[in-house]
């Protein structure tokens, strides 16, 4: 265990919804095959940001370049899974996202890996902010029976009846709410459960209410949703509320058309947000406590479609943080056309559950087997093993 960690290690998961084009993020800029297959979306080699002789970042990732050069970004190449349902199902946003969320490519399941992890951290459900989701709706990754997860749209407007403008009225309404939801003796089970759920909502809101006030920062985040969400993560984390898992997502990566307009905007927002986030954590002396896991449901097709790219496979994942040993992990998917999955897709080279297992075992010190549903070979992106031995 590294000594600099004041609080237990925390995992921040960022989902890039829509399917980030891995080939255009970590670009094999020397490959004629890729250039030929992508006349529309290929980034000119001279504009890319080389990270070795073969690979380069998309220019919009520039804000992260420094972090990468400093060895804080681990790129996991070719993340995916063995397709079970054929391209039709495994290339569906819904299904692919579910697979990442539930770790079950072979069957449909409703229990999320982070839901299970939350239960591991807080088996008695004593702390409703053990896991906090920033965004509307609970991702299935965080769902598990009996597990309470707090889902926050915006930290500054969190809680019940937030539409009521008059603070005084709202306070009284919340008071009434609390008493209406106080379980009465002898009520039916479902009513008691509802009452407890109502009270736990109030409790989370109370716990989180102070976090924004305690927070002060020199870092000026951008106005993008992902930047604001990551700022909220720092506000909650530094408030010391015992949160161990944070989740948020950035939308818009489904670049079937107009990819050259859309992708740079998204990557810039993401890179700036992460850069600012790490800086903010450093300023709060907390950067050693946090690992970011960035994933996307799938990569995109090798050939472009004249305007953008369609759903594919073989994406990438990223681990970022001051505790991370940066660099390239896994193997870049083969670009040789004879290796293309279905004749048009990158084949995955590392099962995504290997990445989860690595983070669970080496970063969080949790046995991954039950959570990811099996034993998967791990990679080694941490300076020292943490939480073991």
């Amino acid at each position: 265990m590294t000594t600099s960690i004041a609080r237990p290690p925390v995992l921040v998961v960022i989902q890039l919804a829509g399917g980030l084009d891995f080939l255009n993020t970590v670009i094999p800029f020397q490959s004629g095959i890729v250039r030929d297959a992508r006349p529309t979306v290929a980034v000119p080699a001279e504009e890319t940001l080389p990270l070795n002789n073969e690979l380069a970042w998309h220019p919009a990732v520039a804000p992260l370049k420094q972090l990468y050069d400093d060895g804080k970004v681990a790129v996991i190449q070719g993340a995916g899974w063995e397709h079970q349902g054929g391209p039709g199902a495994d290339r569906s946003h819904f299904r692919a996202t579910d697979i990442w969320h539930t770790c079950t490519p072979d069957k449909i399941s409703t229990e999320g890996w982070l839901g299970k992890l939350t239960r591991e951290f807080d088996p008695q459900s004593q702390n409703p902010v053990t896991a906090v989701n920033f965004g509307l709706g609970l991702p299935r990754a965080l769902a598990a029976p009996g597990v309470t997860v707090t889902s926050v749209d915006s930290l500054d407007r969190f809680g019940l009846m937030t539409e009521i403008e008059l603070e005084q009225e709202r306070a009284k309404d919340l008071d009434s709410f609390k008493r209406m939801y106080t379980p009465a003796v002898g009520t039916a089970m479902v009513q008691e459960y509802l009452a407890q759920t109502g009270l736990s909502v109030l409790q989370s809101a109370e716990i989180l209410a102070d976090a924004p006030e305690q927070y002060a920062s020199e870092v000026e985040y951008g106005s993008s949703p992902i930047a604001q969400a990551l700022r909220d993560v720092v506000r909650v984390h530094t408030a010391g509320l015992g949160a161990r898992i944070f989740y948020t997502l950035q939308r818009g990566y489904d670049t079937h058309s107009g990819q050259n307009d859309q992708l740079p905007v998204l990557l810039t927002q993401l890179s700036e947000a992460i850069r600012d986030f790490i800086q903010d954590l450093r300023n709060h002396n907390a950067s050693e406590e946090v690992t970011i896991l960035v994933f996307t449901e799938f990569g995109r097709r090798i050939r472009d479609n004249g305007s953008g790219t369609d759903h594919g496979s073989g994406g990438g994942a990223y681990l970022i943080g001051d505790g991370v040993r940066g660099g390239l992990y896994g193997e870049y998917p083969s670009l040789d056309p004879s290796d293309w999955l279905y004749g048009e897709d990158l084949s995955h080279t590392i099962d995504f559950r290997s990445i989860y297992s690595t983070v669970l075992d080496q970063w969080l010190g949790v046995d991954p087997t039950a959570i990811v549903g099996g034993s998967f070979e791990q990679i080694h992106p941490y300076r020292e093993p943490i939480g073991v031995g």
Binding site: D261, V265, D304, N305, G306
Partner: protein, 358 residues
């Protein structure tokens, strides 16, 4: 031949021809594909072969206002405001909410109506955002309630179909109200949630009287002149007709949306023929398919009969002798080209007194 027909066309614009020798109306080409010309609700042809194809997404997501050319190249999009990242397909959101109609003026300014916020936006292709927007919600003269299709008269003024007020209103381009006509009902000259509009060479106004299943022709001052079509799915019958257009010969085209077809009536309102759709692969569709081995296989296993048909067309537009149909449900534009020769009176026998089988 070319010289002859050109001369005849000129004559026809003045309405001086007797009858039209209809040689045919062959299908010419298909433009666009899914995700590029997404749910095209209307289109306008600009200069130098630019085609502005207006997409209508679900709910508040607007759609792409895509610029294409006759070679089916994607020339980018026009925006009402800069795009914000969201969970919609990239570029699907050009800033409109429920875009309904588009026209281009002589300077190639693009005018778009929006049924959700009851506004008319004026934009250009060069800028990434609107240059003007006007429109006030309401039912008083000059106010709008769900503006749909538009047309520009010969004085450069904008006629707007004001759907929920069941009328047509005329404005200057900067939004000053001039006049209008129409009221709710199903009688002659009355309208029920009208949608499409077109002008002929004489300035007469044709309105797609959507909920009355007909098109009505009005004089330039708004007097009702003629009813075209009636409810049904037979020849010359309409099921919730949307857009209308009139060509140089006075032929009237109706997007018979509920029947998935376009009908052609002659200038007297007599039914002539229908277009059911003959789509082939557009250059962009072909390119997309050629790059996707799975799709090629899937396609080989399917029955393709249906795919060439029109699906819920909401508009029909004329550009010279071209007929353009934004094929809403199939995310593409189908193009036909007219072959017809106007004949002078001295070339044609007199109208027979009775129909005969000889």
């Amino acid at each position: 031949m070319a010289v002859e027909t050109n001369g005849a066309n000129e004559a026809s614009a003045n309405g001086t021809y007797e009858i039209l020798l209809r040689a045919g109306y062959p299908y010419e080409q298909t433009l666009g594909r899914r995700l590029v010309t997404f749910n095209p609700i209307d289109l306008a042809v600009g200069k130098e072969g630019r085609i502005y194809c207006l997409g209508r997404g679900p709910f508040e997501t607007g759609g792409p206002l895509r610029i294409l050319n006759w070679e089916d190249e994607d020339l980018g999009v026009v925006r009402r405001r800069p795009a914000e990242p969201n969970d919609r397909p990239a570029e699907a959101d050009c800033g409109w909410i429920w875009p309904a109609g588009i026209v281009c003026d002589e300077d190639e300014r693009i005018i778009v109506s929006d049924e959700a916020d009851h506004t008319i936006t004026i934009a250009t292709r060069e800028r990434d955002e609107e240059i003007a927007r006007w429109g006030e919600h309401g039912s008083a003269p000059g106010q709008l309630d769900r503006p749909a299709h538009m047309a520009i008269d010969d004085e450069g003024r904008l006629l707007v179909v004001d759907t929920m007020n069941h009328r047509v209103q005329r404005f200057t381009m900067d939004g000053r109200y001039i006049d209008g006509f129409g009221s709710y009902g199903s009688g002659f000259g009355e309208l029920d949630m009208p949608w499409g509009i077109a002008l002929d060479g004489d300035g007469c106004v044709y309105v797609g009287d959507w909920r009355n299943d007909r098109v009505q022709k009005f004089s330039p001052s708004g007097e009702p002149l003629m009813i075209i079509g009636s409810s049904g799915d037979g020849d010359g019958e309409l099921n919730r007709p949307a857009g209308v257009a009139v060509d140089q010969h006075g032929d009237i085209y109706v997007a018979d949306r509920g029947n998935n077809r376009v009908l052609l009536f002659n200038r007297e309102g007599r039914y002539v023929e229908k277009f059911l759709g003959d789509a082939t692969l557009s250059p962009s569709a072909l390119k997309m398919l050629m790059e996707q081995p799975i799709l090629l296989r899937q396609r080989d296993l399917t029955v393709l009969e249906e795919e060439k048909r029109l699906r819920s067309p909401a508009s029909v537009r004329i550009d010279g002798d071209r007929l353009l149909i934004p094929d809403f449900g199939y995310n593409r534009v189908q193009v036909y080209r007219k072959e017809a020769y106007p004949l002078r009176e001295d070339q044609v026998a007199p109208i027979p007194t009775r129909p005969a089988l000889r």
